[in-house]
Amino acid sequence: MTSHAAHLKEKAEKASLGFWLYLMTDIMVFASLFATYVILRNGTNGGPASQDIFNLEFVMVETFLLLVSSFTSGLAYLAVRRGLKRRALVLLGTTIALGIGFLTLELYEFGELILAGHGPAHSAFLSAFFTLVGTHGLHILIGIIWAIALGDYISKHGTSPDALRKFSLFVVFWHFLDLVWIFIFTIVYLLGIIS
């Protein structure tokens, strides 16, 4: 291996390690929001409590969209690795579409609550709910913007090793958001319906 190639490989390894460390810091952001949500959950201020406003079927559809988008992002990564540019772009497009679908449903849910007078300023419970779920949604939005930029890069530069490296970080990010969503699904929605 030439020293230039070794240098690039080293850079890729550093980027990957750093990105995992960044995800760890993001977990701490979500941990703080989760802790706050759990503490403030009963502070409903005479307004609706969690069992009054959550609709599990609706959340099921959201979850389904997100999980499938993770699957397609993984397939897209494999396509980049095999150098199948067209297939990679189609699968990435599917991922983006599913992500937008998820975000639309989430905004719909938020909109319904706000129109019913249950906006984030109503009670501590609703503040914590909107902020926790909204922060996840914001990450999804960032992921979508990233995916679009990535699609543009691949359509211009093809499936180079550089593209694969960039793509691998995106896929890790997207799976990470899935993981956070599983916790939101369990702690916010599922436990919210039961209690």
């Binding site: 960044y22 109503h122 501590a124």
Partner: protein, 655 residues
């Protein structure tokens, strides 16, 4: 016509009114304009832009961090002088500041000292020394390093801008709600505080990731983790703490901001909100933050003591174990900041015992340094004097800390001057003395000449004497019941103690002045104080193996490490001259201004939030996203220095 869509809530009513802030508010812009005119007059713009603003060289970024930190030390020090002048004169009837201004001044003092002096000096020293000590050419992500610095800079600008327009927060350095909530503090002061800390904090978080990866991936070949200089270990532990703690700060400040701009109810006292949740969260960051600041200082002292005692560090392994123990323990003690919350005896007992346990690894370190000096032929240079002052002062601070770890006793001294004396004892005596020692120690490596040793020692003595005068009276006052953060009192027996304390702050001011003087004098006499060997202290670690000032590529030939204190033993074995064929092509990052642009846009996001200028937030956000995308999809960010060029450069640097 309603212009609020354009200018938010900006209005002339926020212009400063009382004479003290008015003076500063007029002086500061004039000074800035003066500096800008001087730069223009001396035609230095392209030099500053090309060599400093756009640089990705960690050493230069470190120098800029340090410059800001020293500037902010003077600003925060002036605040301290005003506070103690007020309490010394409180009974004479002369009122320097009313209660509101007093609150703003102590908030400014605390916030600036921790975020912009402590953090700034820490990242400054890490940037200057760490890559060189690791035998590395650079940090892991040079561009991210530039972004971090400029975010820190943007935070610094925002927190100082509040003085000129809008007023400072009056909520204390940690901004406890509900006082900092919308209901009691609707003005922009708290928003300035939030966004300055938020932006600087994100910069720190990125630096935490950057230096962790630097230590894990950029070490010279052969340097295993247990062969690293102990400073690198202390930085590694501190940076892990940064990565775990700073996201909590980001989330907490974010929630407080949402309370304020969106009328949410996280920390309000009505609608189900819980202010104590904020206090728990902020200390879950705040306590580790104390260790983030002090651990690198411990690392610096470890290097200095070993160098000047001319012995290897006593108990390297126990030192590493102590650092790691502190890393874990620092996350299970946060509740000791509010034993009076009412969590119950069992919870208080747990946190009290955990707090006392932290004293053990910290004590281990002190003994390690003392045993390192034992039977050494110690050279008492300025850095070593700082160490001696530290060892005394920090021990007193540690002992009073263990006292306050007893919940029953803490109920007595909670929120009194005793606490103020304690944390200044550990932060000045531990953190600042450590960083000052580091400045004197590494200065020749950065600039090519040593600082005047006599003036440096004099400065250390002045700090030490001033410290004792300023803070020992506060311990006594605290035990007598003097509450902190109050501008007046009615017990005449407190007057002498407050006057002594005020004089002490003045002596500290003389110490700071002597330090500046030693820098100015040494720059003037730089030819005489020049360091021609690159190794003025007969050092032990790799940074002393390169010429002074360290070249921009750090090491012409990446060193191979076989043991701790590699450079010390190499000198014993005789240093081999490098041969022409040892030089290889190297790749270095190109300068770029993108970090500055990202930070300017981020600062505008903060400004928009502070003044409710929503279009500015939106536009600046798009600019940030655009720059991040542009940078991350740009594959042409490096240039090559060929082996030939490097050989010539190295010969010139060594000549």
């Amino acid at each position: 016509m309603d212009w609020s869509w354009l200018i938010g809530r900006l209005s002339p009513e926020y212009l400063p009114k009382d004479p003290v802030t008015l003076g500063a508010a007029i002086g500061m812009p004039i000074a800035i304009i003066g500096i800008l005119l001087a730069i223009t007059y001396f035609k230095k713009w392209s030099y500053i832009w090309n060599e400093w603003v756009t640089t990705l060289d960690a050493k230069k970024i470190g120098i800029m961090y340090m410059g800001i930190a020293i500037l902010m030390l003077l600003r925060g020090g002036a605040d301290a002088l005003m506070l103690r002048a007020q309490t010394a004169l409180a009974q004479t009837g002369i009122e320097l500041f009313n209660t509101q201004t007093f609150q703003e001044v102590f908030t400014a003092h605390g916030s600036i000292m921790i975020f912009f002096v402590g953090m700034g000096a820490m990242f400054g020293l890490i940037n200057m020394a760490l890559p060189l000590m690791l035998g590395a050419r650079d940090v892991a992500y040079p561009f991210l390093n530039s972004v971090s610095f400029w975010l820190f800079f943007a935070g610094m600008v925002i927190i100082n801008a509040s003085l000129v327009f809008g007023g400072f927060s009056n909520g204390g350095w940690l901004g406890y709600p509900p006082l900092t909530g919308l209901e009691y503090n609707p003005g922009p002061g708290v928003d300035y505080w939030i966004w300055a800390l938020q932006i600087a904090g994100i910069g720190s978080l990125l630096s935490g990731i950057n230096f962790t990866v630097t230590i894990l991936k950029n070490r010279a070949p052969g340097m295993t983790l247990m062969k690293m200089p102990i400073f690198a270990w202390s930085v590694l532990v501190a940076m892990v703490l940064v990565m775990l703690a700073f996201p909590v700060l980001t989330a907490t400040l974010g929630m407080l901001a949402l309370d304020r701009v969106a009328g949410m109810h996280f920390f309000t006292s009505d609608a189900g909100g819980n202010p104590m949740m904020y206090i728990n969260l902020i200390w879950a960051w705040g306590h580790p933050e104390v260790y983030i600041l002090v651990l690198p200082a411990f690392g610096i002292f470890s290097e200095i003591v070993a160098t000047f005692a001319r012995k290897r560090l006593f108990g390297y392994t126990t030192m590493v174990a102590a650092l790691i123990a502190i890393m874990f323990l620092s996350f299970v003690v946060w509740q000791h900041h509010f034993f009076t919350m009412g969590a119950g005896a069992n919870v208080n007992a747990f946190f009290g015992i955990m707090t006392m346990i932290i004293a053990i690894p910290t004590g281990v370190k002190l003994f390690n340094w003392i045993f390192t000096m034992y039977k050494g032929r110690t050279k008492f240079t300025a850095p070593m004097i700082w160490f001696m002052c530290f060892a005394v002062t920090f021990t007193i601070g540690g002992v009073t800390g263990v006292l306050m770890a007893v919940p029953a006793l803490d109920f007595q001294v909670h929120n009194t001057m005793f606490l103020v004396a304690h944390f200044h004892n550990v932060i000045i005596g531990g953190v600042l003395f450590g960083y000052f020692a580091g400045i004197y120690y590494w200065w020749p490596k950065l600039f090519g000449f040593t600082l005047h040793d006599g003036l440096g020692k004099l400065s250390a003595y002045a700090w030490q004497v001033g410290f004792i005068l300023a803070f020992i009276p506060l311990y006594i006052l605290g035990l007598m019941g003097a509450a902190r953060r109050i501008n007046t009192y009615d017990d005449p027996s407190w007057v002498p103690l407050f006057i002594v304390s005020g004089v002490g702050v003045g002596v500290i001011g003389i110490g700071a002045g002597l330090m500046i003087l030693s820098m100015v004098y040494s720059i003037w006499k730089r030819k005489k104080l020049a360091d021609t060997t690159g190794d003025p202290w007969d050092g032990r670690t790799l940074e002393w193996s390169v010429p002074s000032p360290a070249p921009f590529y750090n090491f012409a030939i990446t060193p191979t490490v076989t043991r701790r204190d590699e450079w010390w033993y190499r000198k014993k074995d005789g240093v081999a001259q490098p041969k022409r064929e040892d030089y290889k092509d190297i790749e270095l990052p190109k300068n770029t201004a993108e970090g500055v642009y990202i930070a300017i846009a981020t600062g505008m996001i903060g400004f928009g939030f502070i003044w409710h200028i929503w279009w500015m937030v939106a536009v600046a956000l798009i600019v940030v996203i655009a720059f991040v995308i542009r940078r991350s999809f740009n594959d042409d960010t490096e240039y090559t220095i060929t082996a030939d060029e490097l050989y010539q450069l190295d010969r010139k640097a060594r000549a």
